[in-house]
Assembly symmetry: C2
Homo-oligomer: 228 residues x 2
């Protein structure tokens, strides 16, 4: 087997979600000794401007910062890139234009991981929805996407920012579960945890409906790509 | 306040200990929004040769790899460096010679964190003991260090390698607690978790004797230094 590829993670959006991605990557590698693990370079840059505000036209673009992080990781030796943030995939073309190494999409990995379903409920941040990332990815696959209505979406965003502030309390977990169940009640055959903060407070076994975790989907694809 | 400094983490020794350091850094920063967190660059390089074997004269030196990681992190923008591995501090001078940015020692941070005690029990890997890192750090402070005897040290090393292989079972936890208690029985006023794998299976509240966690000590110092 050839030497595994070096993974570059553009992180910090938010930092706890980056820790979660890194932890799952180490755990899922399933190595018996240090030396069998994958080399991973991380730029955890929480100062990248808010993606949701930029997509809504209310704030500066994170694109130059994401491109700079991508270039820095390639320069440091990364063989391919991932981002620990679904919404930031709205700027994927800016990242790809900045480097000559492949970019592995969390959106595509997650849409593939959903498997054979005709309708999914997507828990995604405003910017991720505004950029139609999952609508397009599932649309290509002939899968209908359901999203929260305006009122519950506003509540969802408040929960996401509570998680970013470190609140992973039972109250937050229960509210996240009930938002997921509202999509199930409307006919979703699977719930897509399409924001990297969601799995921090919504475990796959908390609900009777399957939960597809975007972090897990990206981790599985990144490990396979690194070892290919 | 001036812009906080960028932290560079030389990691991968082992990867789970690096995840733990990163997680504690994010948690201890206590920021309300992404943008208030600290920028952190991580080179999680598990392929760095085994430190214990090198110090025992049984394997290649990790020094050139540690120096290369340090240079890469400085080049990527780190303002100071830390290592998520106590034993690797045996090569601190090689790292410092490779860069022009400060290096914050986990050994010194931990010895300071032990506070006003006259005798400590140190749970440290073979290489960390062989290089006398804690013996010297506590010696300077007038504190006596107790270590495991040869037989229990061999068992300790087996536990560490089980943790590195992902085994954080109750059996491993109970054995680690009993090794810590054997040092307490010999008169240690505090137990030093002087290997970054130890806190993964020994929580501070598991024992009646204070446990000084080297990861926590380094995190506290790194945050203070970044914000100074």
């Amino acid at each position: 087997m050839s030497e595994p590829k070096i993974i570059g993670i553009i992180g910090g959006m938010g930092p706890a979600a980056t820790v979660d991605l890194f932890a799952k990557l180490v755990e899922a590698t399933g190595a018996a000794i240090d030396q069998d693990h994958l080399r991973t370079l991380i730029d955890n840059n929480p100062r990248i401007p808010n993606r949701n505000d930029a997509i809504a036209g209310r704030g500066p673009s994170p694109a130059p910062h994401l491109a700079a992080a991508a270039r820095g990781l390639q320069q440091a030796g990364a063989d391919f890139l991932v981002i620990a943030c679904n919404t930031a995939h709205a700027f994927q073309s800016d990242i790809e234009a900045a480097v000559t190494i492949p970019f592995i999409s969390m959106i595509e990995a997650t849409a593939d991981a959903a498997g054979d379903v005709d309708r999914v409920g997507v828990l995604a941040a405003d910017g991720c929805r505004g950029a139609h990332l999952y609508e397009h990815a599932f649309g290509k696959r002939g899968v209908t996407t359901l999203f929260l209505d305006d009122e519950t979406q506003a509540e969802f965003m408040k929960l996401i920012f509570r998680v970013k502030a470190g609140d992973m309390s039972d109250a937050v977990r229960r509210r996240m579960e009930s938002l997921a169940l509202s999509l199930y009640a409307r006919g979703a055959k699977a719930i897509i945890a399409a924001c990297t903060e969601v799995p921090l407070v919504l475990s796959a076994d908390a609900l009777a409906v399957p939960v597809i975790n975007s972090t897990d989907a990206l981790v599985a694809r990144a490990i396979a790509f690194a070892k290919a």
